[in-house]
Amino acid sequence: MTILRLISIMLMVLMGAKGAYRSASAFDYPITDPYAATVIETPSEYRAKLPAALPTSTINLRIFPDRRIPEIFWYQDGLPCSLIRQRHEAPLIFIIAGTGARYDAPKMLDLQKVFYQAGFHVLSLSSPTHMDFVINASESMAPGNLEDDAGDLYRVMERARQAIGRHIAVSDYYLTGYSLGGIQAAFVSRLDEDRQRFGFRKVLLINPPVSLYRSVTILDRLLDDNIPGGLNNFQTWLDEVMLNLSDIYQELGYFEFSGDYIHRVHERYPHRDPFLRAIIGLSFRMSSSNMIFSADIMNGGGYITPTHAEITPTTSLTPYAMVACRTGFTDYFHEYLYPRLRRRHPGLTEAQLIARLSLHHIGGYLRATEKIGVMHNRDDIILDAGDIDWLRETFGRRARIFPLGGHCGNLAHPEVVNYMTDFFNQGKD
């Protein structure tokens, strides 16, 4: 269990998101509040039946064997990915994780089960924003430019394919990704049209941002707007949270990380939306902090760490953590990513870069390419007004919009699982 997961469970206990559960309807996902859906995901009684265990093996890729990895990242030793294979010849699907997520994040595990059950070999990749990827597999070591990230992912996919080489019989290739991994999947698919290494049969974008910049702006603001006084006032916010948790603790007399406990807490505490928003913002900020610090160290510092500094394994990183969590993805975009890209592409404006980091930018390709589909939720919190209409208009029949689920909250719901399975099965011969 990652610490983030632990925190999110802990926070779920605190927030008392009694998301107005609603009665059965056409789509019987139970949580109508999109923020609650995003945090709670699919309650166990609504989850699809998925395999309990998977025959997973990990492969470790050394993409840039000559790269010098700073001492502070002494524990980094290549990019791990996971492979789950069928016993016989089968199609292989690549899954790209969302922002900051590793190949084995909880949502990844759900998707792995879905596709393994559907008869695919499953190869899971950490997000290019995950520190393992930044350090070991990103050429620029500064993720965020979708075309560069797609190139990095493509290289990793080729190397992974080589690494599993003879041991596995692959009939065809498929591709998917959720959230940031969804929009990256679209760019990878387009790159593959040129390079033709895989010739993906079908590609599904799961809850992708339409404009990356817009989505990260929304997520950055969730934190800034919902912790009164901002992060410098975090202690006050956390104290209040802990006080609430302590009350529950006192009342119930015990504390445990379990669904049952969370359920009991839900029943006691009224719905508190700002709290949920802060949690989502916090979780996103932690992901981007990890990415920004890793990128800065790998590029020699200057953004949030001093240049030419000798940071050893016993150096305190707390001051940098404090700065990193006060640095939004949008700050990184304006102060770090854009200036670096402009050095490479003189004349590139911020507006141009923002436009490039979107599905609009490859709208023509998406419109014309039958094999690409998109799956989204009408109430997804990372979208802007008009995004859903644009997706429907661009993808036509290849867009499936669920009414509820927030951001990736319904991935384990049976109807959603069926849709994903059917989408890819239609590609098989």
């Binding site: 953004y303 949030i304 001093p306 500094a309 150096t315 707390t318």
Partner: protein, 251 residues
């Protein structure tokens, strides 16, 4: 056993004070340029939860790393062998047995904090699970609404107003602080002096129990070092530990 734990703890504390002086600031050279976004510009002088009092940080980070190696090359291989050899069902029975034996500490600390209800529940649990639950292999008491009332000596010290003291990463035992380190020693002393170890009075059995319970506890703890995907894992663990203990003490 108690004296040994206390002695090694004292030794460790002295050692940490000695080594704690190692610098935790990065060495910079004349070429160094300060970062665009700096601590001084972004952080005010209020209290920040991430900045836990940790004067021995350099040393703690060293121990944290040592614990990783210990975990990876010794502890986890043993735990994996245990997982491989025993069926889950048997593992769960062992967990039940271990928990039941440690109810002694829960009872003692509930009493020390004058928590009569908690003590009553713990005593009932101990009796029910030891008899009907056959030595704790099963836990019928929880099913009857008697939830475990966990209390340790660190919590007892906290209950009487003793603060955290400096954060410490203990060799093999992991995150702690000065108060909770004394708590661990106190619990070990009680357990050995007036608890199950004294009752059984058989050093082989006690040692066997110590080994089994350590493996059982590690087996139930899913945390793995350096797998969180965060370069700030040390800070995260420190924050979570500190908040978790505050919560446990305040209840």
């Amino acid at each position: 056993m108690a004296r040994k734990t206390a002695t090694s703890l004292l030794f460790f504390l002295l050692l940490s004070i000695h080594l704690g002086g190692c610098s935790t600031l990065p060495r910079t050279t004349e070429q160094s340029r300060p970062p665009l976004r700096s601590y001084d510009a972004l952080v005010d002088d209020r209290q920040h939860p991430l900045e836990v009092y940790d004067p021995l940080e350099g040393f703690n980070r060293g121990v944290y790393r040592f614990n990783h190696y210990f975990d990876r090359y010794l502890f986890l291989p043993v735990v994996r062998t245990y997982d491989f050899l025993l069926p889950d069902y048997l593992e769960d029975r062992i967990s039940g047995f271990v928990d039941n034996v440690f109810e002694f500490n829960n009872l003692l600390n509930n009493l020390l904090q004058l928590k009569w209800k908690g003590a009553g529940i713990t005593l009932s649990r101990l009796i029910i699970n030891s008899t009907i639950g056959i030595g704790g292999l099963w836990d019928p008491a929880t099913g009857w609404g008697l939830q475990r009332r966990t209390e340790d000596f660190g919590q007892t010290l906290g209950f009487y107003g003793i603060g955290n003291g400096p954060y410490l990463v203990l060799p093999l035992l992991g995150p702690s602080n000065l108060r909770d380190s004394f708590g661990i020693a106190g619990d070990a002393a009680g357990f050995a002096g007036i608890g199950p170890v004294a009752w059984v009075d058989n050093s082989t059995a006690s040692q066997a129990f110590t080994s089994v319970s350590s493996v059982d506890r590690r087996h139930r703890q899913p945390f793995r070092y350096y797998q969180t995907g965060s370069p700030f894992e040390y800070e995260m663990v420190r924050l979570l530990y500190t908040q978790k203990r505050a919560l446990e003490i305040s209840k």
